[in-house]
Amino acid sequence: MPTSRVQRSPVRMRHGRLAGVLLAPSLFGLAAFLVFPILVVLWLSLNRWDLLTPMRFVGLDNYFDVLTDPTFGNSMLRTVIFVVLVIPLQVALGLFMAVLLTRGLPGSGLFRVIYVIPWICAPLALGVVWKWILAPYDGALNNVLGIGVEWLSNPALAMPAVAGVTIWSQVGYTTLFFFAGLVAIPEQVIEAAQLDGADGWRIFWQIKLPLLGPTLFFVLVTGVISAFQAFDQIYALTPNGGPQGTTDVIASRIYLEAFQGGFNLGRASVMALVLFVILVIITLVQQRFFAQRITYDLS
């Protein structure tokens, strides 16, 4: 992206003050509610504090404590399992649906709209809906299938169920991105390949997919970043970390540690920082690939 055009004209000399006025509110918000909290979380991570008793400085104790805590290890593992279950399926299904939509059949536009519906809804509300659908005795799924599976309280099934609901709610959104990417591929490229005798299968793997690379990478990275932070639907489906902690992903652990398990704000801060470091690393890796358009990908 070219750097901003420099325009020199006399009327543009007194911009400093105006800029100050225009930027003041958002700068305040940024400083007070994004940057300052990072400093606070660093400070909290060095203290033991439960909000009731006075804060006590403990140095790196919380770090040793958390990093050797099997509960936290379990949370990291569960988070990775969640990401690994969700992302490949979400991406593959999204790509598949996008390819079908680009076949240009009448009505494709309507399907596109339908697929996005879950994505507009609160993950929490969707989680509650699915909690009923997956309920063991009066839930819709068991009812329809005529079975009595404990989808959400069986330790072997809880994580796949939670991942499945997440995939269900995200596929449409992923589809939209791939659709936009596929539509942008110039028709001439495809036609040239067709003239050379390539069949549809080959055109997909050897031409469309490589050209979709940037879209694919964008979807992967933003997907991974948001999956690492997943909370709402998991909270709704399996509160308190799920059966035997099998869905106790990192966001859920931070919440439980800080607000449900005796207010261990110091320990929770350490966990939040670990998550932060992981997310920053992912983002930086992504930036290396997307140096030119950093910011579309940061969300």
């Binding site: 055009r5 800029a19 225009l22 958002s26 918000g29 940024l30 509610f33 994004l34 940057v35 909290p37 990072i38 606070v40 909290l44 504090w49 909000l51 939509l101 076949r103 240009g104 059949l105 494709s108 399907f111 709209v113 339908i114 697929y115 996005v116 809804c121 609160a122 993950p123 929490l124 509650v128 809906v129 009923w132 009066d138 329809v144 449409g172 959104y173 991105f177 936009a180 990417g181 596929l182 942008a184 591929i185 067709q194 050209l211 690379g213 940037p214 964008f218 932070q229 966001a251 800080a258 704000l265 801060s269 920082l273 998550l275 983002t283 030119q292 358009r293 910011t295 579309y296 969300s299």
Partner: protein, 345 residues
Amino acid sequence: MTSADRTESTERTPGRTRRAQDERPEGAGRTNGDERADGIEPTAGAESMTGPVAAEQPAAPEPSGRVRSRRRRKPLADVLTYGVLVVAALLTIGPFALSFMTAFKSPAQFASEPSLNPPDPVTTENFARLFGGDYGFVSPIAVTAQVVAVILVGQLAFSIMAAYAFAKLRFAYRDTLFWVYLATLMIPQVVIVIPLYAMMVQSGMRNTFWALVLPFMFGSPYAVFLLREHFRGIPDDLIDAARIDGAGDWRILWQIVVPLSRGIISTLAIITVVSHWNNFMWPLIITTGRDWQVITVATANLQSQYNANWTLVMAATTVAMAPLLIMFALFQRTIVNSISLTGFK
């Protein structure tokens, strides 16, 4: 804006030809289908990286986003495609349909009949219980609406101001500062809820309206970024002309720049409404009791308290989702395009 202006700005920035066209403000010769122009944006980015072939040949997807068929029709493949598309659509809509149906069933019918049976008779008793009596679902809706309204106005106004400064003014450390804005995009909510909570407790604002809105109402770095990109596409000549005609900076911003950017601003408005209507973690943490409960928290609490009472709970999820679903029905095209534009979260 005259077409001469546009041509000139295009010529002056050859590398940004496409962008200038994409950002051509509405009203300046935008045809109906041109709404799609917004949606092209990420694609344009993707394209620029797909190598020389794509770069030489800027794709011009059809405005509606529909794809012209590229090949001879293959009936069997078409039937299979429709089959998959329809099944996927049913799987997508199914849970919604089931939950809406359940919301209109009596608990007795729910307990005695299969889940797929339609409500018979259709009853609104679940909604009546939800809004009247013990559950008091009116308050969460009112609170959420107020929170969303305040955040929406604040975030848009302050983001527009900042974006204008970054796009059109020259001042010291502008690029450094913008870089800082961008860097804060990396800070996820889940990392800062604990310090924010501590800050709210220390300042006595826990469980207040201000705790719900303050962290979000001063603008979002993401909105600033998107708006700045758009504002940069507005020709400086236009602004200079207005200035010569005696318009002050404030007037230029609100009466020229903002009206020319209705598309991106409505996109951002939708993003803000959706993400804050649906926000859950922060309100869950910072509010206790009923006073400032938002709709998502109320729904979660209802579910955990009346676990087996699914007709009532499905009425609650219906109420929680209905406003956004109605908004989606009204603005589906803009929303679908917004998503491909921004990848908003």
